[in-house]
Symmetry: C2
Subunit: 255 residues, 2 copies
């Protein structure tokens, strides 16, 4: 029993030559590792590839399906199967996290806290490394926020883009991906309540504080400003959600 704690470190990895379709996944992974398949590449047609690997088409499809589920491959009917080519930062699919949240009953507060930790980390790094271009983009998004104070949905777009830019400025694509994973889920919730958003001006000001700290290359200030911003954002979102719940309860019209 003492070894059980290390179980989560097990990998689905290569040498688990269990089922045939797992073998296919391994083969494809190896091809990617070896660089034979690069982002944007198109895989051979399923019928050919199946013959190459010596498996049947359904089995090959099962393997492709697995890799597609984790966001590595993407199939388009009539066109082919492609290695995912991400223009911007590499994106990890957030649905696994979403499922896990349902399965284990994660609270919104827990999700917010995770986001806060990640955003503070990237803000700190961004303060150390942001380039002029990136800071210019941040500034533009803040301007966008101020010009859409009366359009919450538009405001939210600028909000998101600002945070993305900060993440990009951190120079760490892994943290950026993880942050997006979490932020995506919170965004989905947010977009349902955002119509009732208030205090957008305050929010815009908070973003300016973050921006200034990054501009001054002051990591600690950037972290602090980001923390403050997210604490308030959480409070605001919870309030919006509560109002929605109250209204639905009064009208008796769920969903």
């Amino acid at each position: 029993m003492t070894a059980l704690n290390t179980d989560i470190f097990k990998t689905i990895d290569a040498e688990r030559r269990g089922t045939t379709s797992e073998e296919v996944v391994s083969q494809l992974r190896e091809m990617i590792h070896r660089g034979e398949l690069r982002p944007g590449d198109r895989l051979p047609p399923e019928r050919d590839l199946a013959k190459m690997l010596g498996v049947s088409r359904p089995t090959l499809r099962a393997g492709i399906r697995s890799l597609a589920a984790v966001g590595v491959l993407q199939s388009r009917q009539g066109a082919g199967t492609f290695v995912v080519k991400s223009d911007g930062p590499p994106a990890l699919d957030s649905s696994p996290l979403r499922l896990m949240a349902s399965l284990h009953g994660f609270t919104s507060a827990e999700m917010f806290e995770a986001r806060q930790s990640l955003e503070m980390a990237v803000a700190g790094l961004a303060a150390e490394r942001a380039t002029g271009d990136q800071m210019a983009t941040m500034s533009e998004e803040i301007t966008g926020m101020f010009t859409s104070l009366d359009d919450p949905e538009q405001f939210l777009v600028h909000d998101m883009r600002f945070h993305q830019t900060v993440a990009a400025a951190s120079g760490n694509r892994i943290l950026t991906s993880l942050m997006n994973m979490v932020a995506t889920i919170l965004f989905d919730v947010r977009s349902k309540t955002v119509k009732r958003a208030r205090d957008l001006k305050e929010s815009a000001e908070m973003h300016r504080h973050i921006y200034r700290a990054i501009r001054e290359h002051d990591p600690e200030a950037a972290r602090a400003a980001m923390r403050e911003h997210l604490v308030r954002a959480q409070r605001a979102q919870e309030q919006e959600a509560a109002e929605d719940a109250a209204r639905d309860g009064a009208n008796g019209n769920g969903r």
Copy 2:
């Protein structure tokens, strides 16, 4: 084109009633969301479930396959398909991140930095919230490290468990999962070079510093101690890797 930046926020979600198998994934997800399927539950046999959902067995299998790939379901030949039951903290599969790393050429340094940010965050939270039990476990693992200074592989086990305990003590399962995702990958690399590990005593001492800070409920000190520990760990690991490379180069025996 201006809307392109928001693309990563798109979800594979529900309403994308595109292909039939995606529909199946949605259906299964809904069942989980609604709580009809709980961790540890067994799904109906594929043939029955396919009939229920009104799809063919291959299509259903494709959906199951997708969910299995992200770690939500698990199929065992002859037994059935089960909703994953995690004993400890919920685990996110690290293979997507691993693939992404290969695909985009993530450096080991970037990975280390991400881990450092995450570990610092959880250490800070752990300092605020660790229970007596958790601190006792940490202490025991440190003892374990000191008693296995001459057995690097055993030392590594205690090392991992210590970090897991800290993560658990953070009380945030999301951060814990993300941290494990990253740590798993670094661990795989590490386990290949660990035989040559030195300075284990210093490493054990560093863990003690972290432990003390957590015991004193001093988040800043915990963060600082964790940072210091990981910086040194990275340096050590890079050195081990370099030695391995040099040795392989001298002997001319790759792999």
